[in-house]
Amino acid sequence: MTRATVRIAVVLCTIACLAAPRAAWAGDALDRVRHAGVLRWGGDLQGGEPFVSQDPRDPSHLVGFEVDIAAAIARTLGVRAEFVENDWSTLVPSLERGSFDVAMNGLEVMASRATRVSFTRPYYVFTERLIARRGDTRVHPSLDALRGLRVGTLASSYAFELIRDRSDVVVYEGTEEPYLDLARGRTDAVLLDDIIAARYGEPNAALEVVGDVAEGYYAVAARKSEPDLESAVDAALAQMAKSGELEAILRRANLWSAREERLTSWTPADQARMIGAATAEVGATGMTPRHVLLFVQGALMTLLVSTLAMLLAVPLGLALAIARRWGPRWLDVLANVYVEIYRGTPVLLQLYVLYYGLAPIVRINALTAAVVGLGMNYAAYEAEAYRAGIQAVPRGQMEAALSLGMSLPLALRRIILPQAFRHALPNVTNDFIALLKDSSLVSVITVVELTKQMTITAVDVRGWLMPGLLCAALYLAMSWPLGFVARRLEARLAHG
């Protein structure tokens, strides 16, 4: 398990927790919050300014307009607010399993969420803002005009739902990266909420706003089983809108515009319209053959990335091992430094540096970066596997080869490495299986492989259990035969 992905662990934990019976607080959630004296609200600091982020002057202190809103709601309920950090894309499942009382972090009111949790009245009216490179005449302010273009957005966002069937969507996990990639020409446009666009896209001189193409609402999410808490928070928001406190908070964050005025006169009819419009979108479908096909595509991408990365890692690792055993001193030192650096830092960091950090210097696409990043990382492990294998070959084998007039390269190729490979094979197989799973990390650089496909589908079908099981089954279907083939190969090579 040492290098198994955190992601899979998270998914399996989520499945386990969903399967367990939930605490029966129905009807007295508000009492519970009042009794505890805290309203625990979930969000993701990675979303950054102006939502909720660490105060640069005092990182232990949180700032942002949602921090202010949460504090005001809590004050109205007679408690204090407590922030709970949670990955943005899993806020809804985490709310359902009880990690916090409510979720509030730029959660757009949309079908995939409205069918699973209850939303209060909105605290912000947002628009979906389209940004492109300055002067790019192909991009027009309409959703249909995005057909055929490469468009970046956040995974599980409202913008993703809007463009997933129209465009070639590139999904990101952070708010800054979509605009960096757009400026460098890796995508044609970015569609995201206006707050994100204003903070991360518009300051970039190479980019310009094309226009706003849709509108929606941010609201506080509560569990469906706790309507009393949901109405209490809703009432608090209504009071804040009426008293002008909400306007003051949004003005402080520079987010107030004429559009937000409808928050102060929000009626039950508006609320019904908002929820109705959201749930009228395509409802939960369950797993369809189309999903299964997408999973198989994801699995093929996993297999492609892993295999190509291994094809790079094997010869590179071999070269490193040879350099360390027979190379001149300086090459030995260099190889050693390589192995220690790649083994001693997280592969996730290496992928980030390769794809985003080095982007001004080397221009490579996401798939190449994934293969090169994983391949160079695994080369360090392969080097160690071969070094152990080479050490297991008796000294006399090399002496016999040299005494017969073989050159060092010939002796390595014909005598030493074939035997070393046999000793290294179990470790190499093990590494390839680990690589299959580690390849899920490349989703951070926008490659949609099996695990990413699962998280996307889990949102579609409003559940993690079936997608999780199918995903696990596909991983097993890839790694199991590999182990079998490796054991057969070991048996065949077991001479001598």
Binding site: S403, L404, M406, L408, G496
Partner: protein
């Protein structure tokens, strides 16, 4: 054929193993090299084909000369010497992942680039000579020590060496297995092959060698007719 002058070598910082060896070996001679354990016999032999680097003096084989500095410094001379001089190890060192016949064919095929058909025919003939024609397809781990050493001798002969260096070829074998290897060596000596044989087997040395050299404390202590030199030993 082989001229060694002032050969000196120490292991690590302090312990000298060879302290100025001067000796010449002529073509066609069978020379037994004996002496107490740790005297430097094996080291002397291993220096001749570059398995050990040395610190002082020189080794000349025909027109190729080795100087201190090891594998890299002597690359060209070593390549020539190793083609001319075969080596047989105490623990045979057969290639563990190759069959007996593949062990014999390996160097002719990949060093001398002889055609596979010809290499196989030569290898079969050599295995026949050492009495192992029927074991050609066995892997080393399927062979006894004596059989492995006979394959190792055939492997060295497959490169058509002008001289053979043998480093205690029978001392790792059971007494019952020594005879089969000694028989091969006896036939080889009678064929006129130049042989430098490091051995503790005085009786055999007296039987096949033309000359005996005793190495003691890193120097040549005695050099002469085996009947005289080996007289006092057991």
């Amino acid at each position: 054929m082989i001229t060694i002058a002032k050969l000196a070598k120490s292991y690590g910082a302090g312990t000298p193993i060879l302290r100025g060896v001067d000796v010449t070996f002529a073509k066609g001679q069978v020379v037994a090299i004996t002496g107490p354990s740790g005297a430097g016999k094996s080291t002397l032999l291993r220096c001749i084909n570059g398995l050990e680097a040395f610190d002082g003096g020189s080794i000349r084989v025909e027109n190729d000369t080795l100087v201190p500095g090891g594998e890299r410094t002597n690359a060209i001379a070593l390549a020539a010497i190793r083609r001319r001089v075969g080596f047989v190890f105490q623990t045979w060192n057969l290639f563990a992942h190759r069959t007996a016949i593949a062990n014999v064919m390996e160097a002719p095929l990949h060093v001398r680039k002889i055609a596979p058909r010809e290499a196989r025919a030569r290898a079969e003939a050599l295995l026949e000579c050492v009495g192992l024609a029927l074991r050609a397809d066995a892997y080393p781990h399927e062979l006894s020590g004596g059989e492995q050493q006979r394959v190792a001798i055939a492997r060295a002969l497959a490169m058509d060496p002008e001289a053979l260096l043998l480093d205690e070829p029978t001392s790792a074998l059971d007494p019952s297995r020594k005879g089969e290897v000694l028989a091969v060596l006896r036939a080889l000596a009678e064929s006129g092959m130049t042989m430098l044989l490091v051995t503790h087997d005085v009786a055999f040395a007296r039987e096949v060698a033309h000359r005996a050299v005793v190495v003691a404390e890193g120097k040549i202590a005695e050099d002469g007719d085996p009947k005289d030199v080996l007289r006092h030993d057991d």
